[in-house]
Amino acid sequence: MSRNEIIMAGIGGMGVLVAGQTLSRAAFHQYKHTSYVPSFGAARRGGNSEYTVIFSDEKISSPLLDQSQSVVLLDSTQFAAYEARVRPGGVYIVEKSDLTAERGRKDYKLYTLPGMEIAVSMGASVLIGLIMLGACIAITECISPEAIEDEIRLRFAGEKDLLQRNLDAFRRGFELGKAAR
């Protein structure tokens, strides 16, 4: 696929932007065009946080997307809002704790995955971003997991413990996604 689109949304402290940076940097090495748009309020803490990553062999016009091929939602209270942003035929990957909303459309594939459960079991809620990114990559196959792992290694180079935890989180997510696929 020559063009890939991912939106991920959550709240502060979920590692959303770390996931976005990792994904986009990995894509940058493989694609001619990559855009990564993080979005966060003035408050660096607690607010909503979202990113849009596009990578493509063609020029990217708008780096903002009304709808994206894949949408990953970490805060399921916003299920309806982000469902609207899944392209017909796309995938919607939702963290399932607290999920009460129902699907409004049938033209996309829905995955609900227990990302938070895994994160807490690993001892830090901030890991959920990489876990769900892993799942997303397993499901969409938009980029190789190795490329992501390389980026994680670069990011946490010299911080052995952190590196291991983050790699583990990504891999657990990847496995989760593969299983769900």
Partner: protein, 263 residues
């Protein structure tokens, strides 16, 4: 809220201060503070001091721009916030129109002694009878931890990545001492909140500052050193130790001026 009390007969001895508006506080601004941020404690002390002095009905306040300003939501006084650094100007106008009011500002170190230095010096020079509470977290908190005039020598910030080098970036500005040099000032002190004893002393400083305003003496000023763990890249507990070991040696605590009338 899941505060609950069961069991033996009991009375609440410490809770949220009476002059706090928890709706606003919780709803809009509460979540803005990082874990371990001590700024809200400054709000607590202000509320308690004003309440104990019995001057709450005369109070009105002005916030700077920065993390300290979220107290706008907490303290139960009418409040405004204007341009970054302008709080002493705003408070000046309020006090002049309402000389019976207890008019105070809460400002950050950047707000008060960097961009607001002319407002501060102006108010000092005119001897405005207001109270200024400066929250000194040794950096620009809100904008992500840049160097401030109060950043201590060697401290790493996002704009002093090698640590503040006094030969290039100068030495930390000592607001409380500076303020004390002005004749129109009734009170100036610096406190911290990193130990229980200092917490108590700082409360006394803040109370005295408000008392001097109530007596109409002159400008009163309290600088409070507070922990800013994320921008200091420390845990909250480590931050307290850093205050003790690094900040205090550079920023002596105590009262620098305390007079009940001016000349």
């Amino acid at each position: 809220m899941n505060k609950k009390a069961e069991g033996p007969k009991k009375e609440k001895v410490v809770g949220t201060p009476a002059l706090f508006v928890t709706e606003w506080w919780t709803q809009f601004l509460w979540d803005m503070y990082c874990p371990g941020c001590q700024t809200p404690l400054v709000g607590r002390l202000i509320a308690e001091a004003i309440e104990e002095l019995g001057i709450g009905d005369r109070a009105i306040m002005v916030m700077g721009n920065g993390c300290h300003a979220y107290l706008a939501g907490g303290l139960d006084f009418d409040v405004t916030s204007g341009g970054h650094g302008r709080a002493p100007d705003i408070a000046t106008a309020m006090k002049r129109v309402m000389p019976d009011g207890i008019v105070f500002t809460v400002q950050g170190d950047g707000d008060c002694v960097a961009i607001g230095a002319d407002a501060l010096i102006g108010a000092l020079s005119r001897g405005e009878k207001i109270t200024i509470i400066m929250v000194n977290n040794t950096n620009y908190g809100t904008t992500g931890g840049q160097m401030a005039p109060t950043t201590i020598v060697g401290q790493v910030t996002t704009t002093s990545p090698q640590g503040r080098n006094p030969d290039v970036e100068g030495y930390p500005t000592h607001a409380a001492e500076l303020v004390a040099t002005f004749r129109g000032v009734s009170y100036s002190a610096r406190g911290s909140l990193h130990t229980t004893a200092n917490y108590r002393r700082t409360k006394k400083y803040i109370t005295t500052a408000f008392q001097r305003q109530a007596e109409g003496v002159g400008l009163s000023f309290v600088e409070v050193i507070t922990a800013c763990p994320p921008n200091w890249h420390m845990t909250p507990i480590e931050s307290l130790a850093w205050i003790e070991e690094k900040a205090i040696p550079d920023f002596p605590l105590g009262e620098f001026k305390n007079v009940t009338h001016i000349e």
